[in-house]
Symmetry: C2
Subunit: 333 residues, 2 copies
């Protein structure tokens, strides 16, 4: 668990694209962010209060979260000065960067001297068990995609938020570094040892109230040859009661795989249900989430209507149209 609330470190991010993690925290857990702190030349602005480290502390911040990607995979000396100062003032640090905080001797030394914690959320810190497949209490919903990066995290986040708003029991379960930083906990599934992947998902989604839903963040795709094993572990370890099919309709090939065409939602439904039924014979596909960011308002609605007619399932873009109809579908299970 990462201690909240956060001060969000934007560094010298060239633009908003580099600030994906910070944007995610602002949008999904605004109560976790007391403000932002930038360096000279920063091209990203979250619209939060700009603070010094001292002002952040005064506002209650416990952890300085690196909310941006770094340039060239190096934690620069300019960043270091702020990070070390933060440790000295009493902040923990949290990062999803590829190059780890724990590999930087000066950060490790400053953390030890000041009794602070370095959180590298890409690295598992738990010895996960082998999955048992034993049926757990409570309900689970998993977003699965025709491809990577089609909006699975967003879908689960939006459904969780809608559940909360309705006063229903729901927990977003993060399986990637962005989700872990946003919520403060989770499993960095892509960094787990193969034999323990499904077990780590069981660990993440334990027994719960019968009317509680885990909204599990999906990863990869059963059709993406680089990462399908990770997806498979979610389908079996998560033993979902409900699947949401996710799709981005404008791609001409699978992400990072030129020559691999996208499969259809209907093909995804068939294979995902077949496999998910191994762990939970009662699993259903509850709805469809379309990422319509590259479509006009009119085309987005038309596309969703067409898919809904073809598949016979509620179909929305939760970003544009809200997640209400997907949550309605869960409530009916």
């Amino acid at each position: 668990m990462i201690e909240t609330p956060y001060l969000l470190f934007l560094g010298d991010a060239p633009d908003m694209l580099a600030a994906k993690v910070a944007i995610g925290i602002r949008d999904w857990r605004p109560e976790n962010a007391v403000g932002q702190i930038s360096l000279e030349g920063c091209g990203a602005d979250l619209g939060l209060t700009e603070m010094t480290l001292d002002e952040g502390l005064a506002a209650g911040a416990r952890t300085l979260v690196i909310g941006v990607a770094n340039r060239g995979g190096v934690i620069s000396e300019k960043w270091k000065a702020v990070l070390i100062s933060a440790l000295e003032k009493g902040y923990d640090l949290a990062s999803g960067l590829h190059n780890l905080l724990r590999d930087e001797g000066d950060l490790v030394a400053a953390a030890q001297t000041n009794g602070r914690t370095l959180h590298d959320v890409r690295v598992p810190t738990v010895a996960y068990p082998i999955a048992t497949g034993v049926k757990r209490k409570g309900k689970r919903c998993l977003a699965v995609g025709t491809d990577c990066s089609v909006g699975k995290m967003y879908t689960a986040m939006a459904m969780d938020a809608e559940m909360q708003e309705r006063g229903l029991k729901s927990t977003f379960r993060a399986t990637g570094q962005t989700g872990i930083l946003i919520t403060g906990s989770g499993v960095p599934l892509d960094a787990v040892i193969a034999d323990f992947m499904a077990g780590s998902v069981e660990y993440l989604t334990p027994d719960n109230d019968e009317d509680h839903w885990d909204m599990i963040e999906g990863q990869g795709s059963l059709f993406h040859v680089s990462y399908s094993g990770v997806t498979m572990a979610l389908v079996h370890g998560g033993q979902p009661d409900a699947l949401i099919l996710c799709h981005e309709p404008t791609r001409d090939h699978m992400r990072g795989l030129p020559g691999y065409k996208l499969k259809s939602l209907s093909e995804l439904q068939d294979v995902a249900l077949t496999l998910a039924r191994v762990a939970n014979p009662d699993v259903v596909v509850a709805g469809i989430s379309i990422n319509t960011q590259h479509l006009s308002d009119e085309d987005a609605l038309a596309y969703c209507a067409k898919v809904e007619a073809e598949m016979g399932l509620p179909t929305v873009d939760p970003y544009r149209h809200g997640a209400g109809r997907l949550v309605d579908a869960l409530a009916a299970i």
Copy 2:
């Protein structure tokens, strides 16, 4: 790569069951084993020449392979004396034990002092890439099972041996510690980090002659909720041209999963082909391998004949009936 040939260390194994690795080496790579070495009270006997460490060296051995499971997960002092002596005399050590050679300070020290290598084959030593999905030259065959431990390694080994005997180009590709110790190389897939699983399989089965077959050792099962992600990575990373379906007909539940019934060969065929076609649209199921160890000769033949009639595919127990018909099926692809 582990240097061959080996002297096989049987320790104080209580019985032959504990000597699975040594038996595998004797049966599949007899040319890799110059002899065996036992401690007092050893209940396992491979029928190889019993040798001292010096006799093993004189016979050409380069590596002392721990061919047995240890008791209680501890490398005992009795074992240590032999292992350290072996390092001093010039042997490397190789082990698939859960507790690692590299975690034993006295073994590490002896290896360093004498310039020898400790091979813990459960631990990856390569930084595997992310899978690219790019089509590779040459042919690949993957055994997939309705469950774990149904004879997938044996099937691939037997097919490889039959190919060699016919003078055809074939390489057994090990993906587990037993297979790695038998052949001296491979990928310990269950210990690879999730994101790199499929990439490690691509690495293991690179471009080759167009008429060369990789016989890839399968792991887990698409239907086994604990390990299905590992299997999925083999199906996509291996981009097989041919699948062999493996089954053990007498189990009443999945291995280690009470309450999980086995799926049928027909269900396995459907889902494995659907997923394998993502990476290779031309993949076919070439044949079926039945593990008939718990059936009489007569029942074994009858069962295979029944499956063959139902599935329309050559069906044998390669241990009892030979792998010839499975290799015939590959030759026809």
